[in-house]
Structures are given as structure tokens and as C-alpha cells.
């Protein structure tokens, strides 16, 4: 009995699956178009930007940090890459790398302020949220960049797969999730992320400087925000200076729904993907039902509270 119990994932990680299943059953019963490969592939396209941002957010939350600046860094990256291509006429790959470079620098900036200046992540990323937003507006002149090279929108294209139209960006998102999942689970450096989140002092005592791990995690998150920038450009076909406003909260929601503990050290990155899909399913299903978007917000709020409650209870239960 004990061995069976230890083999099952903890309830905090099953929660999002259960929520997803319940939502799917309800929408399947109330609408006739919900259950189709086409609809599911569409939902995955709709969540790919937040999904990739949520990878970075998961890593940071695993170290007991938080990143409020992720959406704004993503918007900045998408403006940088599209404007460099449109205004300077540089080839798309160079522009894309420049965009990802800028988001990585901002991730690194977050990390340096957290580890070197020892500021709380909440405050650091709140400040960087504003800085990234302002630079985005100043650099773009608050104007949408519409002349985007085809290579930047390629990931938004789709290929047919058994009746569904799967976006290349969706495939990239899933590959990134699998890669990070493997890294966290199977490699020493991945295990260090958990160790730092659980007990930074113990980590230091066994010879791993926690600051270095944390700095690396913030910088790596910047890379994921840069990839999300490219996905946002691919999805909408433009560089949008007003993007990114709600992505931080959406990504944190996905991570929390996915069962990663806000107290650090516990969680599975694949859960964040499920968390992002739960929100996408709600929005899609409620539109199909003809229900106001306010209900999506209501249900999301209730689910977030439930997810954190489960985490708290399982923590008290001595897990």
C-alpha cells in the first residue's frame, strides 16, 4: 500500500488534471464542437505564448522567487525583433537573436538584482516590469510594427495532423517543456534548482553557491521570454507594444494551477503546461457555450485558490 502511494503523484499535481477533465466533460456535454482535434489544436495555439512564458516562471518559482516582469520583457523582445527587421532591414534570424538577446539581458538583470543586491524578487521584477514597459513604448513610439518578415511568422503556421491543424509553435512549446522537464529531473544542475528552492543554506553547505543557480535561472527565463516574443509575433503577425499586459498573472496562474509550490522547491514543469491549457480550455469552452468572459475570470480565480489550498494542506500534512 505504501509503495503504491509513493508511486502516485501527490494530489497537488493531480489537481490540474482533474480540473481539466471536469472542464472538458462539461464543455463536451454542453457544446457539440468542443471535442475535436481541430478545437484542441486551436486551444494549444492560443496558449503557446503564455505556455512558454510559464516555463521561465516555473523555474523562478521553483527557486521560491516570482517574476512579474515576464510579460513586459516578452513585449519588449517582440518589439525589438520586429523593429530591427523592419527599420534596420537586418535579416530575420539576426533580428530574432537580437530580440532574444535583449530578453535574456533583462532576465540577467533581474537575477543580478536578486542575487547581488539581495532585493526581493517581487520588488525587482515589479521595477523591471515598469522599465521594460517604458522602453517598449519609447522604442516603438507606441506604434504597432506591421512589416514583419515571413520567417518571424513561420512558427504561427500549421500542418495537418489527423484532422487537426497543429501550429509549429505548439510543437516547439511541447518540445521545450519536455526538454526542461528532463533537465530538471535527470541532470545535476536541474536538481540544484529544486535544492535551492527547498533549502538554500543546505545547498551552500554541500558546495553549490545558491546565488549562481538563481542567477542562471533568471537568465534562462529571459531566454524563454525571448522565444515567447517570437511566438507572439508569429501568432499575431505583428510586433505589438501593448502586448504583455496580462501575461505575468496568466503565467503565474498556469504555474500555480500546475501544482508548483509558491514556496519553492516543489513542482513539475509539465504541470504548468496543463495549467495554461486549463485557462485556454475555459476561455474556448465558455465562448462556445456563449457565456460572458467574466465567468472565465471567476472560475480561474476559484481554481487558483483551490490549487494553493491543496498545496498548503499537503505541506501541513508533512509531505
Amino acid at each position: 500500500m505504501d509503495t503504491l502511494k509513493s508511486k502516485l503523484p501527490p494530489i497537488g499535481q493531480l489537481g490540474p488534471f482533474i480540473a481539466l477533465l471536469i472542464a472538458c466533460v462539461i464543455f463536451g456535454l454542453t457544446t457539440d464542437r468542443f471535442f475535436s482535434g481541430e478545437n484542441f489544436s486551436l486551444i494549444l495555439q492560443q496558449v503557446m505564448v503564455v505556455g512558454v512564458i510559464a516555463i521561465g516562471q516555473t523555474l523562478i518559482i521553483l527557486t521560491a522567487g516570482i517574476d512579474l516582469s515576464c510579460g513586459m520583457i516578452m513585449a519588449l523582445g517582440s518589439i525589438v525583433m520586429t523593429k530591427i527587421a523592419a527599420d534596420l532591414g537586418l535579416p530575420a534570424p539576426v533580428a530574432i537573436l537580437a530580440g532574444i538577446g535583449v530578453t535574456t539581458l533583462f532576465g540577467l538583470l533581474n537575477g543580478l538584482l536578486v542575487t547581488r543586491v539581495k532585493l526581493p524578487p517581487f520588488i525587482v521584477t515589479l521595477g523591471v516590469f515598469n522599465i521594460a514597459f517604458a522602453i517598449t513604448q519609447l522604442y516603438s513610439g507606441s506604434q504597432t510594427v506591421t512589416e514583419v518578415p515571413a520567417l518571424m511568422t513561420w512558427l504561427g503556421g500549421t500542418f495537418p495532423l489527423g484532422g487537426a491543424n497543429v501550429a509549429y509553435g505548439t510543437v516547439l512549446m511541447i518540445l521545450l517543456y519536455l526538454g526542461v522537464w528532463f533537465w530538471l529531473r535527470e541532470t545535476p544542475s536541474g536538481r540544484h534548482v529544486y535544492a535551492v528552492g527547498n533549502n538554500p543554506e543546505a545547498t551552500r553547505l554541500v558546495g553549490i553557491p545558491p546565488e549562481r543557480v538563481i542567477l542562471g535561472v533568471y537568465a534562462l527565463s529571459g531566454v524563454f521570454y525571448g522565444i515567447a516574443s517570437l511566438l507572439a509575433v508569429a501568432r499575431t503577425g505583428v510586433g505589438d507594444p501593448n502586448a504583455g499586459q496580462t501575461e505575468a498573472l496568466d503565467a503565474i496562474t498556469a504555474v500555480v494551477l500546475g501544482g508548483t509550490s509558491l514556496f519553492g522547491g516543489r513542482g513539475v514543469v509539465l504541470g504548468s503546461l496543463i495549467g495554461a491549457v486549463v485557462v485556454g480550455v475555459l476561455r474556448n469552452g465558455l465562448t462556445l457555450m456563449g457565456v460572458s468572459s467574466v465567468y472565465q475570470v471567476l472560475i480561474t480565480g476559484i481554481l487558483v485558490i483551490l490549487a494553493v489550498t491543496v498545496d498548503q494542506l499537503s505541506r501541513k500534512g508533512g509531505r
Binding site: S142, V238, T287, G290
Partner: protein, 332 residues
């Protein structure tokens, strides 16, 4: 010697102060600093103020809906000596106590673009008739569809916003469908409307809303959108679904990007509004009040709306996209 210098300096400062005092100060408070519509409105106000020898102070909320930010801006402007404040209220009701306080201090308050609720709370309102803007694209769509049965998707703003309701209901009224009047903030839903979704006036959210609507009903052939970013998102969704040829999109706003999308055939028609005109009329009223103490004519002044379409239809007045580009706002 030093004393003489100091006296001279003081005299100069006094002269400067006197000049500053005679220069009318006008405050402009927009919903945000970043929306091109408000960027253009601020530009228009700055130019008008320069031409009239007035000093313009500008402020804004941090985001759409930030009432507290607007109240703070208003208080600061009154402290800076503004005798007229032009405001696009983010929250039509919550801003009213702050407006009352300003008026008690003798400040003239004029609403631009959006009314307060009740509208009489401000001394005047210079704005687009949003219901009429909706009616025009409704009439256009009706004529352009030529009696074909319609399945309509509406990509609205967000629940409870009067501008969103007026455009939506005006569109349905113009199309000749069951609708509400301009005073009603509920969204009408006749049988022809097969999907209603909120776009928040945002391109990415508009695209998601359209995708979900197409899932609900693939036969949608007419799309109403609250503004052109939402329309651009809707077009993107339709194009990806291979339906961009058979579906008509109509919109409201008239920004330069939007007019370009009309010229490119992505949007069939849009109702263009004029933020520059709202701003310059507001500044003129402010200068007049500072000079003569005469307040602006109370009540609503329509700043006009023009239907922009690349293909005119019989029985509905419209201007072509060249006219639209001349009068549009945003980057040309």
C-alpha cells in the same frame, strides 16, 4: 553690486511669473499615454495650445480603467493653476466626485471622447457619436451583403462598457436587426448573432475570440469588431482558417493602421472618429474661459464620424481610403 543683481533677478522673475500667470493653463487627462488614439489627441491639444498661446499640462492613467491615476493627475493640474481640464474618463462614474471638487474651485471640466455617467457632471462633452458610428457600419454591411442571410460574430470590448454597448447596438440597429437604443448599456443579441466574445480591443485577444467563434459556428459570414486592432486579429484568425475571402469585417475607429487595412481589403468598412478635433475644440474652449470667463456651451457636441470604405455601396454615404488616410490618426 550683489544687491543690484539680486534686485534685477527678482524683477525678472516677477516679470516671468506675471507672464506665466497671464498664460492660460489647460490640463489634458487621457485614459493612457500609449494608445495611439490618445497620443494623437495629446498631439492635437499641444498644437492647438501652442497656436493659442496657452500652456498645456498632460497626464493619464497608467492603464485603461485607472481612475485613481486620473484623479491624481487632476488634483496636480488644479494645483498647477489649470482653469480648464479636458478629460477622457476611464471610469464614467468614479471620476465624478473629483470633477465636482474641481468645479467648486472654479475649474471648467470638459469630457472628451467618452461621457461621464451622468453626462451632465461635466460642463460639456466633445465626442464621437458611438451609436451612430455603429449604425453606419451596420447600414454598410446590410447593403453590401445584398440580402444574403447573415451569421454574425460580434467581437466586443468588455462587459459593461458604454462605448462597447453603443457601437454594438448601433451596428445591429443599422443592419435592421432587433437592438437596443443608445442609452442602453446591455448588448442586444438577435438570432442572427451566432457568437459574441470580448476582445478587450486587443489584437491578440481579438484573434483568440474570432478563432473560438469560428469553432462555435464555421458559417459566420459577417464580423463586427469594436475597433481595428480587434479587426486585425479577427482577420488573422479568418485567414488562418482559409475564410478571409468569404467573410466581411466591419469596425470602428479610423486609425491609420485601420484605414490601411480597409485599403488592403482586410476590413470592408470602418467608422472614423476624430481625436484631433476633440482636442483642439477643448483647448479653444479652455482659452476662451481663461480670457472672458465664459464657459463653453453646455451639453454634447458631436465631433463627427465618417464611414470609410474602399468599395462604396448604393444608398450609404462613404468616403474612400484616400480621404481616410488624410484624416486618420497614428503613424501614416
Amino acid at each position: 553690486m550683489q544687491l543690484k543683481h539680486a534686485t534685477l533677478l527678482a524683477a525678472l522673475m516677477a516679470a516671468g511669473l506675471a507672464q506665466a500667470q497671464s498664460q492660460p493653463v489647460i490640463g489634458l487627462i487621457t485614459k493612457t499615454e500609449t494608445n495611439p488614439f490618445f497620443v494623437k489627441m495629446k498631439e492635437g491639444a499641444t498644437e492647438a495650445a501652442k497656436a493659442k498661446g496657452a500652456k498645456l499640462l498632460s497626464g493619464a492613467g497608467k492603464a485603461d480603467g485607472d481612475n485613481a491615476g486620473q484623479v491624481t493627475a487632476m488634483e496636480n493640474m488644479i494645483a498647477a493653476g489649470a482653469k480648464t481640464i479636458l478629460i477622457t474618463p476611464s471610469d464614467s462614474k468614479a471620476i465624478i466626485p473629483a470633477i465636482k471638487k474641481a468645479q467648486e474651485k472654479g475649474v471648467q471640466v470638459i469630457a472628451l471622447d467618452s461621457p461621464t455617467d451622468p453626462a451632465e457632471a461635466t460642463d460639456a462633452l466633445f465626442a464621437t457619436d458611438n451609436y451612430k458610428a455603429g449604425v453606419l457600419i451596420g447600414q454598410y454591411a446590410k447593403a453590401a451583403m445584398g440580402g444574403k442571410p447573415v451569421k454574425i460574430a460580434t467581437l466586443d470590448l468588455f462587459p459593461g462598457h458604454p462605448v462597447g454597448a453603443q457601437r454594438h447596438n448601433g451596428f445591429l440597429q443599422g443592419f435592421g436587426l432587433q437592438s437596443f437604443d443608445a442609452k442602453n448599456n446591455e448588448l442586444a443579441k438577435p438570432a442572427e448573432v451566432v457568437c459574441m466574445a470580448d476582445s478587450f480591443g486587443d489584437r491578440a485577444k481579438g484573434q483568440t475570440a474570432m478563432e473560438n467563434c469560428l469553432q462555435k459556428n464555421p458559417d459566420i459570414n459577417l464580423v463586427y469588431t469594436i475597433n481595428e486592432p480587434a479587426a486585425a486579429g479577427a482577420f488573422n484568425a479568418l485567414q488562418k482558417a482559409g475564410k478571409d475571402k468569404g467573410v466581411m469585417i466591419v469596425s470602428v475607429d479610423g486609425g491609420c493602421d485601420g484605414v490601411k487595412d480597409v485599403a488592403a481589403g482586410k476590413i470592408a468598412a470602418t467608422s472614423q472618429q476624430y481625436p484631433l478635433k476633440m482636442a483642439s475644440m477643448g483647448v479653444e474652449a479652455g482659452v476662451e474661459y481663461a480670457k472672458s470667463g465664459k464657459k463653453v456651451k453646455a451639453g454634447y457636441t458631436d465631433t463627427g464620424v465618417t464611414l470609410i470604405a474602399s468599395k462604396p455601396v448604393a444608398g450609404v454615404d462613404s468616403k474612400d481610403t484616400k480621404v481616410g488616410m488624410d484624416l486618420c490618426w497614428g503613424k501614416k
